[in-house]
Symmetry: C2
Subunit: 217 residues, 2 copies
């Protein structure tokens, strides 16, 4: 398990946990690594999610299967990404999604029950793990709220301005880490319509931009 530490120590889930505490903590929460071949099912839809998974190598897909049997891929996760935490923490009796290996992959599985049941003694960093978990969940929450704030706007222009407002901290100028296609997907609008709107906003003297460098006027 020692080699595991090197690969996950920078993960927010393990923030503040030094190597000394790490091994004991892992064993105390019954962490296991598992390998899956491409296509194998890691979590199956309909079951309760009892573990939190962390991708060590390879990649996995989150697949959503709706009532009439159609599947849609909701996300693809690669190394150091986490899955299952929301359903595990929510205590959902029947997960609406499956997780399948998109490649041969290696997963670190942490049993949820054991995570939240702090052991009586010694394992001093267990509490830190729980706090990290809470923090991850809370931050995801904030991100989701931000997205809802954007999507609740009716026009492309308003969505752009709301997005800009959260991107730039206090600065007039800022750059964004998305191309037009990705930005449009984020705002749930048409790429071409968004391009047109950006141009109009520039003509209207609201903003100036060149590629991914934007400036509010």
């Amino acid at each position: 398990m020692k080699n595991i530490f090197a690969r996950v120590k920078d993960n927010p889930l393990f923030a503040g946990i030094p190597v000394e505490g790490f091994e004991q903590m892992l064993s105390c929460i019954g962490a296991q690594t598992a390998t899956y071949r491409k296509g194998e099912v890691i979590f199956l839809m309909g079951n309760a999610v009892e573990s939190v998974g962390l991708v060590l190598s390879g990649s996995v897909q989150i697949v959503w299967e709706n009532a009439d049997g159609h599947c849609t891929m909701m996300a693809e996760l690669s190394a150091s990404e986490l899955f299952g935490e929301t359903f595990a923490c929510a205590g959902t009796a029947s997960s609406p999604v499956s997780v399948v290996a998109a490649d041969d992959c290696e997963i670190l599985l942490l049993n949820y029950r054991k995570i939240i049941t702090t052991c009586s003694s010694s394992c001093s960093f267990h509490a830190r793990l729980i706090a990290n978990m809470l923090q991850l969940m809370a931050r995801k929450n904030l991100l989701l709220n931000r997205k809802i704030e954007i999507l609740s706007k009716r026009t492309t222009r308003e969505r752009l301005l709301t997005f800009f407002d959260t991107q730039r901290g206090t600065a007039r100028q800022f750059s964004i880490p998305y191309n037009r296609e990705e930005l449009a997907a984020l705002l749930c609008v048409e790429r071409s319509a968004m391009s047109a709107e950006l141009s109009k906003m520039q003509r209207d003297g609201l903003i100036r931009f060149r590629k991914n460098q934007f400036e509010l006027l």
Copy 2:
């Protein structure tokens, strides 16, 4: 503190915690009740949120103040509702929102640090409190995801169908706990346009409805 228990025992935050454990747990996490007069500030924007608040009586407003000093009321919470938990858990250094008393009110304040630092002994239900906290956060997460799923649809019709799909479990017929105005607000569309669309969907043979009773065909 004993009378507190009767007032909050049904709160999800305290699920599974019996009266015997309750008092000790409260004292061990340094819970305090505080009263505020209408208009008083409970949490001030710009500060870190160090406590989770639970409204015991009266009501509070969550107020968001943006860069240029304009305030908008984001939510109004009444008895048994929780606030501050997201920012507290996320470790946000500077809260973007203030919480102010909308009425004279009584608040149960739980220090976040103490919540997540399980005490060494005896206080057996402390761990349960943490699990409840995680569960609350995770469930909020699921709700937010559901809302995003709705809002990412482009047309009123698609938003309605997505909403219906989550409302009805497996049933063909179901009722909704909102009037048209509220439903429209939820879906972020115009009430009148939504009414028109509902009628059209009925003409198209997709649904049937009478008041708040809906049926998918």
